[in-house]
Amino acid sequence: MTDHLLIESGGPQTGPACERFVGDAVRLAGDGHRVVLFLVENGVTAALPGAAPGIETFLRDGGEVWVDTFSAAQRALPAADLAADVRMVEMDDVAAKLLEPQVRAVWH
């Protein structure tokens, strides 16, 4: 099994593109890989409950959803309004994850 950091920057407003990338995360988690889905820029809106249906499946299959604190604050999204199981992170957390030798990262 492998470790993955998937980074979504576009969010649900990009329609199928975001949906497909979240679907990629779901597939990887469903296949048993360890996956962090980091939502940044407009991607943070995917953490609003119901905004990106694949997120719930992803969390259920053992994936982790990280939400960029800076992007959320820019977009007036308080943590309390986001889905319960997401983790608010700083870019330092992402840097630490990216520097883990076994982690493979994909930006979308």
């Binding site: 980074i7 920057s9 576009g10 940044v40 820029e41 407009n42 800076f70 992007s71 820019q74 700083e90 870019m91 330092d92 992402v94 840097a95 630490a96 990216l98 520097l99 030798p101 982690v103 493979r104 990262a105 994909v106 930006w107």
Partner: protein, 135 residues
């Protein structure tokens, strides 16, 4: 003869265009976070991102007409200062083809223009490579 490429932990390939999203901001934030952790970082720009370090930008943005006294740094100055802050751990490369194609051939001297034929060498010199945005 091509200059040797320093070994780095991460290569951030900044392919997306400025002024369309927060991509440039994210790239610079991530680079800063990596550098703060002691990592060695390359940044390679393609497409309109080559304009970030265009010499034509000078040091400042056009003036804010509602606040004439306040100066706003250009991206060229921001990048130049970031490079000066990390002289041995941050390297900024500009795709020569894209810079020529997008009217940004004249670059600040602190960055290096590279042939796209050498891209794989930069990938090979880094432990990880992200492509951020599309041209």
């Amino acid at each position: 003869m091509a200059r040797p490429i320093p070994a780095t932990d991460v290569l951030l390939n900044l392919f997306g265009a400025p002024h369309q999203s927060d991509l440039v901001t994210s790239a610079l934030r991530l680079a800063t976070a990596l550098l703060d952790r002691g990592a060695r970082v390359q940044i390679w720009t393609c497409g309109d991102a080559t304009g970030l370090t265009s010499a034509a930008l000078g040091d400042t943005k056009p003036r804010d007409l509602t606040d004439l006294e306040r100066r706003h740094p250009s991206t060229a100055l921001i990048v130049r200062d970031l490079l000066a802050d990390h002289p041995d751990r941050l390297y900024w490369y500009v795709c020569r083809f894209c810079a020529d194609d997008r009217g940004a051939a004249d670059q600040i001297p602190q960055v290096s223009k590279r042939s796209p034929f050498l891209f794989a060498e930069h990938v090979k010199a880094a432990d990880k490579a992200l492509v951020m945005g599309v041209c």
